[in-house]
């Protein structure tokens, strides 16, 4: 059983883990800056201390690496929490944030912007990111319009509509890619495989607010999500307003996904395996699952991005390559250790 104490204690431990990974990440990169110096630079923003670091080193740490870690954390939180919501709502441990076609909608938006070479903004998101967000939101609107029957989003109808929208967008996307082969040079690959470098310029308190506020909104409904695991009918017998809760949470989780993709392209695996692994380790109660998933998602993505930055330095790998490369074996390992029967 999950109580307040257990939730707070585990959240604290996983927050420490995240801080440790973030500290390692900030000191690693093509330009080697010692660990002590990095800590000194970080503290110099809060305290009046002097050190022997150069202005360049300070700029690298504070304006390149630190924003990228914040961005990685936000995207990790968004994907992991959205994954947890989709798995609970569709009552399927295989669901992920991209299952409803939000990712291909966003990616299509991004590729369209690259093809047309636009420089406009949308809801404060500049250029290609703005188009990605618009694409993701469009796909949500389409999904709701098509899948709703009598005001209700049935699990199967929603899932099928998502899959169909997804492949429709994907074919449009590949049509564009073939029509404008030049866009591969301007970064289409990063949008399709995921790259945290895409969104560093976009990072603002606004994006952080969107992600954290939506997460808090979702967390408020975690008890209802527990009850929904019993199935729609039983949840209604227990006084849950199933239709309202499902609509609100599908919308919230889709929004989070669209935000994540607009900041970093399509990063696979985080939203699928993080909630899954946390559930295996600590049980299915969403009151514990969401905070731990958010912290693990942030740690995992920042860690993977560090590897992506360092592995082939000075070249950078798309972080999506690393999440899948590290995620798959790790996932197989925990799957083997957990008894399969307990999973489903």
């Amino acid at each position: 059983m999950v109580g307040v104490k257990k939730t707070l204690l585990l959240s604290f431990l996983f927050a420490l883990l995240f801080l440790a990974i973030a500290l390692v990440s900030v000191s690693l990169g093509p330009a080697p800056i010692g660990f002590k110096r990095v800590v000194g630079i970080l503290f110099s923003t809060l305290l009046p201390i002097q050190g022997d670091w150069t202005e360049t080193e300070k700029a690298i740490v504070l304006s390149l690496r630190l924003p990228r870690i914040f961005l990685g954390a936000l995207v990790g939180i968004a994907l992991a929490v959205a994954g947890g919501v989709f798995q609970a709502l569709l009552r399927n441990p295989l669901a992920d944030p991209y299952i409803l076609g939000v990712s291909s909608g966003s990616a299509l938006g991004a590729v369209l912007a690259l093809a047309l070479g636009v420089e406009s903004s949308f809801l404060g998101f500049q250029g290609v990111s703005g188009f990605a967000l618009a694409g993701g939101l469009t796909s949500i609107v389409l999904l709701y319009t098509i899948a709703r029957t009598r005001g209700e989003l049935g699990t199967l109808t929603t899932l099928l509509t998502g899959v169909i929208l997804s492949s429709f967008f994907a074919s449009l996307l590949w049509f564009l890619v073939n029509f404008f082969p030049g866009i591969f040079l301007t970064g289409a690959m990063s949008w399709l495989m995921g790259d945290l470098g895409l969104g560093v310029g976009q990072l603002s308190w606004g994006t952080a607010f969107y992600v954290l506020a939506t997460s808090a909104f979702i967390y408020y409904y975690s008890r209802s999500l527990n009850v929904l695991a019993l199935g729609d009918e039983s949840a209604r017998y227990l006084g849950i307003e199933v239709r309202r809760v499902k609509n609100l949470l599908l919308l919230a989780a889709s929004l989070m996904t669209a935000l994540a993709v607009s900041m970093s392209g399509v990063i696979g695996f985080v939203g699928l395996i993080v909630p899954h692994a946390v559930r295996l380790a600590f049980g299915a109660d969403h009151r514990l699952l969401f905070p731990i998933s958010a912290l693990v998602g942030a740690s995992f993505l920042v860690g993977a991005d560090t590897i992506a930055r360092v592995a082939l330095a000075p070249r950078e790998l798309p972080v999506g390559v690393i999440t899948a490369l590290c995620g798959s074996p790790f996932f197989i390992l925990i799957l083997k250790r957990a008894r399969m029967k307990e999973l489903f």
Partner: protein, 262 residues
Amino acid sequence: MKLVEVKGLGFRFPSQQLDSWVLRDLNFSLEEGEVLGIMGPNGSGKTTLIRLIAGLLKPTVGRLDIFGQSAAGLRPRQRARLVATVAQDSVMPFSFTCFEVVLMGRSPHQRGFGFDTPQDIQAAEEVMKFTNTLYLRDRPISMISGGEKQRVFIARGLAQSPRLFLLDEPTTHLDLKYKKECFQLLCGLNKERGLTVILISHEINLQAAYCHRMLLLKGGRIYAIGPPKECLTRENIEAVYDCEVLVDENPLSKTPRVSLKI
């Protein structure tokens, strides 16, 4: 005040044709403390009737009141504090523990976000003791047997502290012993706590032994309603189920015993 009062009830799904009624011309009522068994062939509208009483569906015509108010008109949380329903065989996709599942029964008494209070935990433990499931406390719900699962779901319903308990075929998939235990448990609840119970079951003889009244449904209409002795006659059962039976008396319980003519 009648606990359940049904007057001229008719129901059809909005998408269906105008003359395809699932339930039609239903009139009956239930006093507090009764155990009512609903019987009828597959597709006779039993589950729909349970859903109507639980307020999930709205009557197309007529009235269905529980506790003096329209069942569908009650606010969901308020209704869930009065009526608990155990639906047919629900599958849990995630490995919640049995204790967590029983605690979900407390949710109509909890508001918005929050963790379980000591009172919730005490209530859940108490109903688990009563249903003899406390030993399953930390086991994942997906890892226990069908009979244990059914008892856990009954415990979940009891954790709601309801006054009316609805069960849709609680004994399917249960073996002989568990079937009896399930009926005994429900009767114990009725006797010790005055809980009103409505249950659907195909176990004619167990229902005859344990229910105060029986309701026979045929093609969406009430064919007969009354004490088992009046209701479970050879004529009634043969007409409702369209197959030949022999009805005599169970020498132990002195209640009607129905056997198929083979």
